[in-house]
């Protein structure tokens, strides 16, 4: 009667790893390096992007001009309506008087030319809108501008979307570079895992032949290789993440004293739990598939 025997195979896998530790260490180290390099990239990219978002979100990309002569109560109602929109992170109402003051300040010594001008006669009330951090892109800004334009009491909307577009493009580039980097590292790790498994299979060629001769199925022979790869991958992932965490903490402490980088360091965070989970899963997956694939190819070459 055939039935799954995970503990039996796990026992064999562990015994095999203990029997040939060198290829196992090579595989685990390769995966650890791949996990560390990819994790380091994600860590750097995510923190740079976060710092950039923090900086960019200080500017307001939308300016809403109320219709001239709009009563203060209607202006307040309009501001409340805009504030309720989900993309809006922050909102500031600039009354004509404040606008005139700003203009005077901008003109400096020539500010006298504005003497005697009644603010409400020449300037509209302006509502300055900042987007939420997650919505900092040109499409969101454009869509929001179009919706605000439809509201009662709005004369015009100015949208500063050019820099937002560049910002969104930078985010996309960062994502694609990350995917490419992951693919290169993953492929490289897979090659090394495959080769070290072939090496391990070669050193166990006689064992594999004996297993074949006593009637073992391919699955019976391959499953321990699959588990060995998974265990090596898990060890590699844990080691890679641990080294990354140590390096991050050390770097954070070192740079905290630097006055230029301190704000960046203060907002820096370690890997998102989802990324961390993905890295911890990627190692065993990489190890198991690379090892089992290589063992399967090796078995095809065993004639018995």
């Amino acid at each position: 009667m055939r039935r799954p025997r995970p503990f039996y195979f796990l026992r064999r896998a562990v015994a095999n790893l203990r029997g040939a530790p060198r290829p196992a260490v090579v595989t685990a180290s390769t995966i650890a390096i791949a996990v560390f390099l990819f994790g380091a990239f994600v860590l750097f990219a995510a923190n740079s992007y976060r710092a950039l978002v923090g900086w960019a979100s200080r500017g307001d990309p939308l300016l809403v001009y109320a219709k001239p002569g709009l009563p203060p109560a209607a202006t307040a109602a309009l501001a409340k309506q805009i504030q309720a929109l989900p993309e809006v992170g922050r909102l500031r109402v600039i009354e004509p008087e404040e606008g005139l003051r700003d203009l005077r300040g901008t003109l400096g010594a020539d500010g006298d030319v504005l003497e005697g001008i009644e603010a409400r006669e020449v300037l509209p009330t302006v509502i300055s809108i900042g987007l939420r951090e997650g919505d900092l892109d040109d499409r969101t800004a454009g869509a929001l501008a179009a919706r605000v334009r439809q509201l009662d009491g709005v004369a015009a909307v100015d949208s500063e979307s050019a820099w937002l577009e560049r910002f969104a493009r930078f985010g996309r580039v960062l994502r694609w570079v990350g995917i490419g980097w992951a693919a290169v590292l993953g492929f490289g790790a897979l090659l090394v895992v495959g080769n070290s498994t072939r090496l391990a299979a070669l050193t166990r060629k006689e064992e594999i032949e004996v297993l074949r001769l006593v009637g073992a199925s391919d699955a019976f022979i391959i499953v321990p290789f699959f588990l060995e790869g998974g265990l090596q991958g898990l060890a590699g992932s844990l080691a890679g993440v641990a080294v990354l965490a140590i390096a991050f903490t050390a770097l954070e402490r070192t740079l905290a004293g630097d006055s230029f980088l301190a704000p960046f360091v203060a907002s820096a965070r370690f890997l998102d739990p989802r990324v961390l989970g993905a890295l911890l899963v990627a190692g065993p997956l990489l190890g198991a598939t690379g090892s089992a694939g290589s063992a399967r190819r090796f078995l095809r070459g065993v004639e018995l």
């Binding site: 039935r3 025997r5 039996y8 001769l213 006593v214 009637g215 199925s217 391919d218 019976f220 018995l304």
Partner: protein, 223 residues
């Protein structure tokens, strides 16, 4: 029942290990394959185990043509066949008990049950003291007896033995022969390759003599 029909085996480039061999072996028979080195005895056993495919002719075991079986089919045949190799072929990394249990585990037995069977067999064969030892700590004769236990753990209907006493002293050889005799007495068909004349005298059985890959003597039951 085993049938060989005009079986030839040629190794590249043109070495004929077996040429036009036909024979029949009935269930429960004890058959010696004898002849000088290079006569084709080992090749014939490997054909019966499905470790080689014939270059021509058919090898039929239990009504099934070995050449037409896929990898799964060959594995099934091997699970009901025990093989003792001249060099024992024990796995150095496993203790004796695990080596003997291996074919039962490969056949799908639960590990505990396979080990229980292996232990019972080792005890019956007088090898109980070896269970925790590793093959490298055993003498050649002891290794061969353990290999025989491994070959018997699945209660095979067919036991193949390739010069099982070839490298052993007289006492060890005698013990191995006794064990093979016991397997035969319990119903297994035995095909043993040997060029030891003492063995031929010690055991009752049919002798088929091979020379240069051809059957030259003995009732082969050829068609």
């Amino acid at each position: 029942m085993i049938r060989l029909y005009h079986v030839s085996k040629v190794y590249p480039p043109r070495f004929a290990a077996l040429t036009d061999v036909s024979l029949a072996i009935e269930p429960g028979e004890f058959v010696f394959l004898t002849g000088p080195s290079g006569a084709g005895k080992t090749t014939l056993l490997r054909l019966l185990l499905g470790a080689e495919a014939p270059s021509a002719g058919q090898v039929v075991i239990g009504g099934r043509n070995i050449a037409r079986l896929g990898r799964k089919g060959i594995a099934e045949v091997r699970r009901s066949t025990g093989m003792v190799f001249q060099d024992a072929k024990l796995l150095a990394g496993l203790p004796v008990l695990d080596n003997v249990a291996l074919p039962a585990e490969a056949a799908g037995e639960a590990s505990k049950e396979a080990r229980r069977k292996a232990f019972a067999l080792l005890r019956d064969l007088g090898l109980k003291d070896f269970v925790r030892r590793y093959p490298r700590s055993l003498s050649g004769g002891e290794q061969q007896r353990v290999a025989l236990a491994r070959a018997l753990v699945n209660d095979p209907g067919l036991l193949l033995a390739d010069e099982p006493t070839g490298n052993l002293d007289e006492e060890s050889a005698q013990k191995v022969v006794e064990l093979i005799g016991r397997a035969h007495a319990s119903g297994a068909t035995v095909v043993m390759a040997t060029h030891d004349p003492h063995l031929l005298d010690a055991m009752p059985g049919r002798t088929i003599t091979l020379r240069a890959g051809r059957v030259v003597d003995g009732e082969a039951g050829a068609e």
